[in-house]
């Protein structure tokens, strides 16, 4: 007899209640925002028109979804089938990340009911126009890539099979859209050479945003395997994830080198040496978020130890978030002549969205065939022997 995997159990714990409270707060804040305007709930102003919802929710939400295109490319384009077991959870993370971004945008846009205007009024000179199209198209692609999991659960295996046949073009479109989208978020800031601090401004911004997103996206894959492993009593797939740590070292290494080249070329290392406000923020971002994970993950003993690997992955994600906030907030403060600190309500919305995304992930993991334990046996799927449920293994 098969023991019931823990993925099927459901209980409302501390985290569930906390998440519910934040969801309620989110609804109240959304109500205030749509009745009293953005000024009533945010610390945004004419001097600081973009705040936490752009810097964290949009820039980080999209970036941390980068694991999806990286892993799907590895499996479906590079045919690295060993990564197959983590494809569905990463696609789900990517999809939820994009839904999270869209919800945040619906709050942040002044008139979100006009969001479809980007479809009919074109301005190909605008990076925001490119961003809008990438959000729309890639959210659809992620939904399609994930749909077989839902269809299988509903017993619509024939449709799932059809989508599976289309997976190669879907993945290629997904990778192209992601490349464009990740880099275009950096291109958004190319327009402000006179405003963004030279520690962050460079014509290389699109390349830097893309590279760091790949690194942090892989970091997210490791983190999310760790979190779901803890929640569902699963093993950390070390044989799959440790090599990913190696890739993070390579990607962040190249990224870090480019960042150093930029500050040397811009002459902005003077701010680091003079230890100015921007210099300190850069140092924090660079040591904690680039140097530390590169050093940690390049040590074999650390990388092959689950705690070490997760710590390195966490730092790479933290460094990514710090970078996006530095570009969108810290680096713009001097030119704006104002400090920006998000309001309690802005922060609450961001936390609530992260919480809701995690809750939806947990629910999906319980009810949909996402992890190999819960997936229906498929002839095409090769399951790694180390991935049997914990209870069964013992």
């Amino acid at each position: 007899m098969n023991p019931r995997p823990r993925t099927n159990s459901y209980q409302l714990g501390f985290w569930g209640i906390l998440c519910g409270l934040f969801a309620l707060a989110f609804l109240v804040i959304a109500y205030l925002r749509f009745t009293r305007g953005l000024g009533a709930v945010t610390n945004l102003s004419d001097r600081f028109p973009w705040g936490l919802w752009i810097g964290f929710d949009l820039l980080c939400g999209v970036g941390l979804a980068a694991g999806a295109f990286t892993v799907t490319a590895c499996v479906h384009l590079f045919n690295l089938h060993t990564y197959e077991p983590i494809v569905r959870p990463t696609i789900l993370t990517g999809f939820l990340g994009y839904v999270f971004v869209v919800i945040a945008l619906l709050l942040d846009l002044g008139q979100p009911w006009r969001i479809w205007h980007a479809i009919i009024y074109w301005n190909p000179h605008s990076v925001m126009f490119e961003v809008a199209w990438c959000v729309m198209l890639y959210t659809s692609v992620l939904a399609l890539e994930f749909s077989p999991a839902v269809l299988e659960r509903l017993g619509l295996n024939s449709i799932a099979h059809w989508i599976h046949k289309l997976i190669t073009p879907l993945v290629i479109i997904g990778v192209m859209l992601s490349t464009l989208h990740q880099s275009s978020l950096g291109s958004l800031y190319l327009i402000v050479p006179s405003k963004l601090h030279l520690l962050w401004y460079t014509q290389l911004l699109p390349l830097l945003f893309f590279t760091s997103a790949v690194g942090a996206g892989l970091g997210m894959v490791i983190l999310e395997s760790f979190l779901s492993g803890r929640a569902f009593g699963r093993h950390l797939e070390m044989d799959l994830l440790a090599p990913m740590g190696r890739v993070i070292v390579a990607v962040l290494g190249i990224y870090g080198l480019m960042r150093l080249q930029v500050i040397v070329r811009n002459g902005s290392y003077h701010d680091v040496l003079a230890f100015t406000y921007e210099g300190r923020m850069f140092l924090l971002e660079f040591t904690v978020g680039v140097l530390a994970p590169v050093i940690l993950l390049s040590i074999n003993k650390v990388r092959e130890n689950p705690t070490g690997l997760v710590a390195g992955a966490f730092l790479s994600v933290l460094g990514f978030v710090m970078n996006r906030l530095n570009v969108s907030v810290t680096g713009m403060e001097r030119a704006a002549g104002a400090h920006y600190m998000p309001s309690v309500m802005e922060i609450t919305v961001s936390i609530a969205l992260v919480g809701i995304a995690m809750a939806v992930f947990a629910l999906a993991a319980r009810y949909l065939p996402i992890f190999p334990e819960t997936a229906q046996p498929q002839p095409a799927r090769r399951t790694s022997p180390r991935l049997v449920p914990l209870e069964e293994a013992e």
Binding site: F34, R36, G37, H76, L109, M128, I172, S187
Partner: protein, 244 residues
């Protein structure tokens, strides 16, 4: 032909007739505030006794129009940079991007729009002068064709060289602006960014955006090629395995 405005700080008497006329012409609610807002499109700032008008510069290559995803901001053939509030979805990229920090937002409204000087476009289109220039009692703000305004400014500087700093703000800044400024003290002391590059900011993004179609084609084909090669390699490996 491009029209514009010439503001001469040395002639301005800070009477604020221009700010009041602007409010009236554009039907903006509330009193004139001490800084530009979505409801106050122009003000006369005081910088240690020296007045300086703040208003949209009406760039020749406007950054706001280039960044607007729905094309709500447009450079007209006559010169003014105008705003279509019916298209705007409120992303506020124009505010973030403007090198002169001109567009402002209605933070207090549930259905907000952007507010900025539109150089009285409906009047200018009819060949009339803007409200601020018509009402100015001392000719500190004058309306005209941009080329004529530049000649006028140079003439003033030639006639009274000691009264002016030796440059016209707006000739080259961000690729040139429709609004030109003259002053007796350095512009940097009047709340203006004097180090704005001559290259219009939209060129920076266009360098990247214009390459995207080529990039998409090459990247797409490359990805398919990688898939084709790896799949073929798998097939060959499988075939060799079964032969053995």
């Amino acid at each position: 032909m491009t029209v514009g405005l010439l503001y001469d700080s040395t002639r301005c008497i800070s009477c604020n007739a221009c700010t009041a006329a602007c409010k009236e012409e554009n039907k903006l609610p509330g009193v004139v505030e001490d800084h530009t807002t979505a409801y106050t499109w122009t003000i006369v700032e005081d910088h240690g006794g020296t007045p300086m008008r703040k208003l949209c510069m009406h760039c020749l290559v406007p950054t706001c129009a280039s960044v607007c995803p729905v094309g709500a901001l447009k450079k007209t053939a006559e010169g003014p940079v105008v705003y279509d509030s019916e298209k705007c979805m409120g992303c506020r990229y124009c505010m973030m991007a403007c090198p002169f920090d001109v567009p402002k937002y209605q933070w207090d409204r549930a259905v907000p729009i952007v507010g900025k000087c539109i150089m009285c476009y409906s009047k200018v289109k009819e060949g009339q002068s803007t409200a601020c220039a018509s009402v100015c009692p001392v000719g500190a703000t004058v309306f005209g064709e941009r080329n004529n305004l530049i000649m006028d400014a140079r003439e003033r500087m030639r006639a009274k060289p000691s009264a002016y700093v030796d440059s016209i703000y707006g000739i080259r800044e961000a690729g040139g602006t429709g609004v030109l400024l003259l002053a007796g003290v350095p512009f940097a002391t009047l709340g203006l960014n004097a180090s704005i590059s001559e290259e219009p900011p939209p060129m920076r993004t266009w360098q990247v955006l214009s390459k995207l179609p080529d990039f998409v084609a090459v990247w797409g084909v490359s990805l398919y090629a990688i898939h084709w090669i790896t799949s073929r390699r798998d097939d060959v490996a499988k075939h060799e395995g079964s032969e053995r």
